[in-house]
Each structure stands twice: as C-alpha cells, then as structure tokens.
C-alpha cells in the first residue's frame, strides 16, 4: 500500500497539459500578434512534450524542429513584414468578444460531452510484437516511409506489408512545389514593367 497517489509521468502530463491548454487560451485572448506568437511557441512546445510522454519520440522531435523551429519563425517573419507599428492592434468590438466567448464555451461543452460520451477501445495489448511500445519509433517509422512494415508482417506469410512510400513521395514533391510557389508569390515586385 506504499504506492504513491500519482506517479512521475502523470505529474509531467498534468504540467504540460496545463501549459498547453492555458497557452492556447492565451493565444485567443491576447490582442497583439507578437504576444500571440509567444504563447503559440509555448503551446506547441509543451504539446511536443506531450508527444514524448505518449511514446512518440520522433513525432515530438519533428514537432519541435518543424513547428517551433520553422513554422513559428516563418510566422514571426510574417508579423515583422506586415506590421505598420511596433504593437499592431486590430481590436474586435466588445459585443463580438462576448459573442465569441459564448460560442466558444458552448462548442467546448459540445466537444467535451462528445469525447467523454464514447467508450474508447483501449486494446493496448493487441499491438504487434515488433513494434516497441516504449518509444524508440525511429526505425519502424523510417522503414515504413521506405515502403516496408516489418511490424505489420504476418508471421506465416511471404507477403510484405505495404508501407507509405508513395504518400512520402507525393508529400515531398508537394512540399517542393509549394515552397517554389510561395517564393514566387512573395517575391519583390518589379517597379516598372519591361
């Protein structure tokens, strides 16, 4: 009976979940866009910590690298390039604020009741043996992006389970096209037509 009331990972989960939720609320509430960017960094970073707690180490690392390191820098550059003053404020009227808060609380109530009303199947034990549940997802993730899924192969079959090679290629080409298009859209305009 010496079991503690709450164990370490649960305490960490509580802390990071609280930071995530409060920072997300602060993103909505804060008025200047620079403060919104700061709270968004905090929210996305602690969401990455939640990913680590859920044994998704590669996804958490990718979240930290791509979101917090890349997308947020992009957003801050957008803020810098579009602000006409140091603290640009585009305020909404009080009536709109009250209406928005009411709709938000109502919608949150709907989503919470939907989430808590479902009996989710948690068959954690039926997971295949080759997939190591305690983190260490780098190798199976890389293999599945290369097109093989050794964690899904049936033991008595010669067939290989299909992976995600084609979606990976599509997403790669899509990213290339999108970045070229974004650079084309955001280029500096020529002053005079030739």
């Amino acid at each position: 009976m010496n079991e503690p009331l709450i164990d370490g990972p649960s305490i960490l989960f509580l802390i990071f979940a609280a930071i995530t939720c409060l920072s997300a609320v602060a993103v909505v509430v804060s008025q200047t866009v620079v403060r919104m960017a700061f709270w968004l960094v905090l929210s996305l970073g602690s969401a990455a910590a939640l990913f680590f707690l859920a044994d998704a180490d590669f996804v958490g690392a990718a979240q930290l690298l791509i979101y917090v390191g890349g997308t947020l820098v992009l957003l801050v550059f957008g803020v810098m390039l579009t602000a006409s003053g140091p603290y640009l404020k585009i305020a909404t009227s009080p009536g709109e604020t009250i209406l928005g808060a009411a709709v938000a609380l109502l919608f949150m109530f709907v989503v919470f009741s939907a989430v808590s009303g479902v009996e989710w199947p948690t068959d954690n034990l039926t997971r295949s043996v080759a997939f190591n549940p305690a983190g260490n997802t780098l190798r199976p993730l890389g293999l599945s992006l290369l097109g093989t899924r050794p964690d899904q192969d049936l033991p008595d079959s010669d067939q290989l389970s299909p992976g995600y090679l084609l979606p990976f290629e599509i997403v790669s080409v899509h990213l290339l096209v999108v970045l070229i298009g974004a650079a084309y859209l955001a280029r500096a305009k020529r002053r005079s037509a030739i």
């Binding site: 859920a54 997308t71 579009t82 068959d123 997403v171 970045l179 974004a182």
Partner: protein, 102 residues
C-alpha cells in the same frame, strides 16, 4: 492515478476549440494562421494519443508526421498570400479583404 486516452483527447479538444475561435474572431491575418496551427496541433495530439492507447499503432504517428509537413507547406503559402495582401492594401486586417463581395 494514471491518465489515459481520455485526458489526451480533452487536451486536443481544448486546442481545437481555441484554434477555431482564434480563426473566427481574429481580424489579423497572421492571427488566423496561428488559429489554423492550433487546430492542426490538436488533431496531431489526438493521432498520437490513439497511436499510444489503441491498436492503431504506428500508422497514426506517420499520419501526424504528414500533418506536420503539410502544415508547414500551408503556412508558407498562406504567409506569401498575406504578404501580397499587405503589399496591395497596406493592412493585414482580413475584414478589408472584401473586393470579391457581390
């Protein structure tokens, strides 16, 4: 005391609702983009939680990786559009984008 799938889903729901309200109420175009990021992050949190607690396994993590990559692409294009909008209108207020209103 252990936190299971339900707790992750609640956090994801909070992120989703905050992002949706951010998209709907912010008049700054960059703020709307931040709302989109919050919504996508809530969906990602749900994917990872289902990967951990149900038999969905690795597929959910791969899907959340795709979501992260596509969110980066979306942010790049949307920021380019926002920059163009600022160059043409000298403001980032999305309420001023009413040229196509019938």
């Amino acid at each position: 005391m252990q936190f299971g799938l339900q707790a992750y889903l609640v956090v994801g729901a909070v992120l989703f609702v905050c992002g949706l309200v951010c998209m709907a109420t912010k008049r700054n175009g960059i703020g709307v983009l931040m709302g989109v990021e919050l919504v996508l992050n809530g969906a990602n949190l749900n994917f990872v939680a289902f990967s951990r607690y149900t038999s969905l396994g690795l597929d959910a993590q791969i899907f959340s990786l795709f979501v992260i990559v596509l969110a980066a692409a979306e942010a790049a294009v949307a920021l380019a559009i926002a920059l163009n909008f600022y160059n043409n209108h000298l403001t980032i207020d999305v309420d001023r984008a009413n040229k196509l209103k019938g």
